[in-house]
């Protein structure tokens, strides 16, 4: 099954359009609308995504615009949603489904790991599974228990899945278009706390490919690696670091699996120091892979061990305590400070 971006012309005209302030939620909504318009195989379904437009309004208006056969509510059952999406993909559709909150994707875990991730492989490539699972993830919105998990590491450890997550509204649009156009199954993690953050941009499918990290801020002293909701936090920390005399490079991974080793390792070889940031618990988290891999590839370039700034190794805390749990700029700066600068001459 070959699938190309069939949206060149609208996007080119868009490029001429004026930049407007857009929230990440609106950018995602636009990406879904444009994908539905561009490819009639695309269907969007899940809990409350139809009439209501999703609890975060990411699917707002789509059922009205594209009709109940393209965008629809399902019974309340996540394994059911992913399992039927797999069957639909076997029959030529491109399902884009939603898990209402990250932790509510767990009931679908078997369908994701045993089938979605494996069917292409099991059938020697004869079946393509172009399914996208949208997962609002992470904390910072004062959600009560089970509403703020970061489960990306479960999926990045599962061969056969792609795992991506945008850090900005523009990238939310681009990455979701790319995820829907991708022949592989994609876990698409949406950082809830950034749904309402705005960026003034022209949404476009021009940009780095789905599996590329991008340098969001160049710097010489240390590489700060982030993704999803932590990209903005990392950018802030980088700004604050200036006054401490550190010139921080910030990398937005975008694609967690596959990992863009080339881009990230090149940066770390240049800076000799790196810090990875994520909200999920540190132990066995995604940052472990990044640290282990980069250490292996860049060992002799490293001035200090690669450090991780992550959530604690605890269940996600209740709203009144989450601020103690979440990585913030202070913790990032503190980690940077611990990167053994003593012998360094940094101008």
């Amino acid at each position: 099954m070959t699938r190309v971006m069939s949206t060149d012309s609208p996007d080119k005209s868009a490029a001429a359009a004026e930049a407007k302030p857009v929230t990440m939620a609106a950018a995602l909504n636009q990406a879904l609308a444009d994908s539905l318009a561009a490819d009639e195989r695309v269907v969007v379904f899940g809990e409350d995504v139809g009439t209501l437009g999703g609890v975060f309004r990411v699917t707002d208006g789509l059922a009205g615009r594209f009709g109940e056969r393209r965008v629809f509510d399902t019974p309340l059952a996540e394994a059911g949603i992913v399992g039927t999406a797999i069957g639909m993909a076997m029959n030529g559709l491109v399902p884009v489904v939603e898990m209402q909150f990250d932790a509510f994707g767990y009931p679908a875990f078997e369908q994701v790991t045993s089938h979605l991730a494996k069917l292409h492989n099991r059938t020697r490539g004869r079946l393509a599974l172009p399914v996208v699972i949208r997962v609002p993830f992470g904390g910072g919105i004062g959600g009560v228990e089970h509403h703020s998990d970061s489960s990306e590491a479960y999926y990045t450890h599962t061969p056969g899945l792609r795992v991506v997550t945008p850090g900005t509204p523009a990238d939310a649009y681009l990455l979701l278009r790319q995820a829907i156009a991708c022949p592989d199954p994609v876990l698409f993690f949406e950082p809830k706390r950034r749904y309402w953050s705005r960026e003034t941009v022209v949404l476009s499918t021009d940009g780095p490919p789905i599996d590329r990290a991008v340098v969001r801020r160049p710097g010489r002293d240390v590489t700060l690696i982030a993704y999803g909701g932590m990209v903005a936090t990392a950018m802030e920390a980088a700004s604050e670091a200036v006054s401490e005399g550190w010139d921080v490079e910030v990398i937005d991974l975008r694609s967690l699996s596959p990992f863009d080793e080339e881009t990230v390792a090149a940066s770390v070889r240049r800076t000799g120091r790196a810090v990875i940031v994520h909200e999920a618990a540190g132990f066995g988290g995604y940052g472990a892979e990044v640290a282990a891999r980069l250490t292996e590839r860049c060992f002799h370039y490293l001035e200090a061990p690669i450090l991780r700034v992550t959530g604690f190794d605890i269940p996600y805390p209740p709203p009144h305590l989450e601020r103690f749990h979440l990585p913030n700029t202070d913790r990032i700066l503190d980690a940077i400070a611990r990167l053994q600068w003593e012998d360094e001459d940094r101008g």
């Binding site: 809990e47 409350d48 139809g50 009439t51 209501l52 437009g53 609890v55 509510d73 399902t74 019974p75 309340l76 059952a77 394994a79 059911g80 932790a103 509510f104 767990y106 009931p107 004062g142 959600g143 009560v144 228990e145 089970h146 509403h147 132990f283 604690f312 190794d313 605890i314 269940p315 805390p317 209740p318 709203p319 009144h320 305590l321 103690f324 749990h325 202070d330 913790r331 503190d334």
Partner: protein
């Protein structure tokens, strides 16, 4: 021998496992005796008076909590207004030793079971995940991942059977939750194990925005019982007497070793899903008004007044009691929460691991550096 045919004789009697065609009712919307009581028997006057009292208190607690959520004093509040009869009827029907397995929506039931208001609201205020001691009240933590609590109820009930203890578990769930695989597995395990469990489905017509017709094509949710060999009841969920009687009957069956019962109570969520929800996006206000006319409190009040069990004076005393409760809730929830960041590491394991102790120390050092008080 013919393993698969073993129950075929019962199959002919399958009809006995099906619910009635219309909901059983003891007291109708006008406060008169319902004309379809089925096997249910009207509870005694004391119980009826107490059902009414607890509904009035529960309703006031609920409306106060809704207000507090709007004011930002609670992180979120999923109201059970309109489902008062289910909440109160179910909780009161349990015996001391029985366990309640509530969902996020069932704060009124938790309160009615005896959990103090402040502990009931801990979860929704956001200080901790569960504010009460489940063992003390025999109330499981309010459960957010839908349908998962049904399995816990079955396990707890079956443990009682294994220990030869007389203890029944009541699992609360919504119409939406019946679609989850866990509900199926719970009903199935309960049926096979003849576990002492009562399943009460509060069918309030919606799962957030999704109406029942998109949730199931079954004639009734109660009709699912036969698929597990579980007898079922379809009842009017706005009739507190019917809810009480049905749950009581289920508890008695269970306690007698006759196994689980499935009850579907037809009711309605009058408020939006939570304070964060906009219900006008998916339902007409006329529908809400219609259901308001079947108010569970009004009908029981009418019945009690007709039977001479309630008068203006006792109603006024009750109203005052409700106001005192509301005032107490307001005061407690308006007080600023004191949380202890060190507690984050406390209950992950029976004893904190070395790694967690290190993380706690790091956090405390960080906080003292920031010269920010730990509370």
């Amino acid at each position: 021998m013919k393993t698969q045919y073993a129950r075929r004789s019962e199959a002919t009697a399958a009809g006995t496992l099906l619910p009635s065609a219309t909901p059983l009712q003891l007291i109708d919307a006008d406060g008169h005796p319902g004309d379809n009581p089925g096997s249910l028997r009207l509870p005694g006057p004391d119980v009826l008076v107490e059902l009414h009292r607890r509904m009035v208190l529960g309703r006031r607690f609920d409306s106060q909590s809704t207000a507090l959520a709007k004011q930002g004093r609670l992180a979120v509040y999923p109201s059970s207004r309109g489902q008062d009869a289910c909440q109160v009827g179910a909780a009161l029907a349990l015996r001391r030793q029985d366990w309640l397995f509530p969902t996020y929506r069932d704060s009124m039931a938790v309160l009615t079971r005896g959990v103090p208001a402040e502990e009931t609201l801990t979860l929704l205020r956001g200080d901790w995940h569960c504010g009460y001691d489940p063992v003390q009240y025999r109330v499981a933590p309010q459960c957010t991942p839908l349908a998962t609590n049904t399995l816990h109820a079955v396990g707890l009930g079956y443990a009682a059977t294994l220990k030869n203890e007389d203890q029944v578990a009541l699992a609360l769930l919504g119409d939406g939750a019946t679609s989850e695989g866990d509900t199926h597995e719970a009903l199935n395990f309960a049926g096979v194990w003849k576990a002492p469990v009562v399943f009460l489905v509060q069918n309030n017509g919606y799962a957030i925005s999704v109406p029942l017709a998109k949730q199931t094509a079954a004639p009734t949710l109660a009709a699912k019982g036969i698929g597990y060999g579980i007898p079922s009841l379809l009842i009017d969920g706005n009739d507190a007497a019917a809810v009480y009687a049905a749950v009581r009957a289920g508890v008695s069956r269970a306690a007698a070793g006759e196994g689980p019962t499935l009850i579907e109570a037809i009711t309605y969520r009058v408020e939006a899903h939570t304070n964060a929800d906009d219900a006008s996006r998916y339902r007409a206000s006329a529908e809400v008004s219609e259901w308001l006319s079947r108010d569970p409190i009004a009908r029981l009040e009418a019945y009690l007044r007709g039977a001479g069990l309630l008068d203006d004076a006792s109603a006024a005393r009750l109203a005052a009691e409700a106001e005192r409760l509301a005032e107490d809730v307001r005061q407690r929830m308006n007080a600023d929460v004191s949380v202890d960041p060190a507690e984050l590491f406390e209950h992950v394991y029976a004893r904190p691991t070395a790694a967690l102790e290190r993380q706690r120390a790091e956090l405390l050092a960080e906080l003292s550096e920031l010269e920010e008080p730990a509370l």
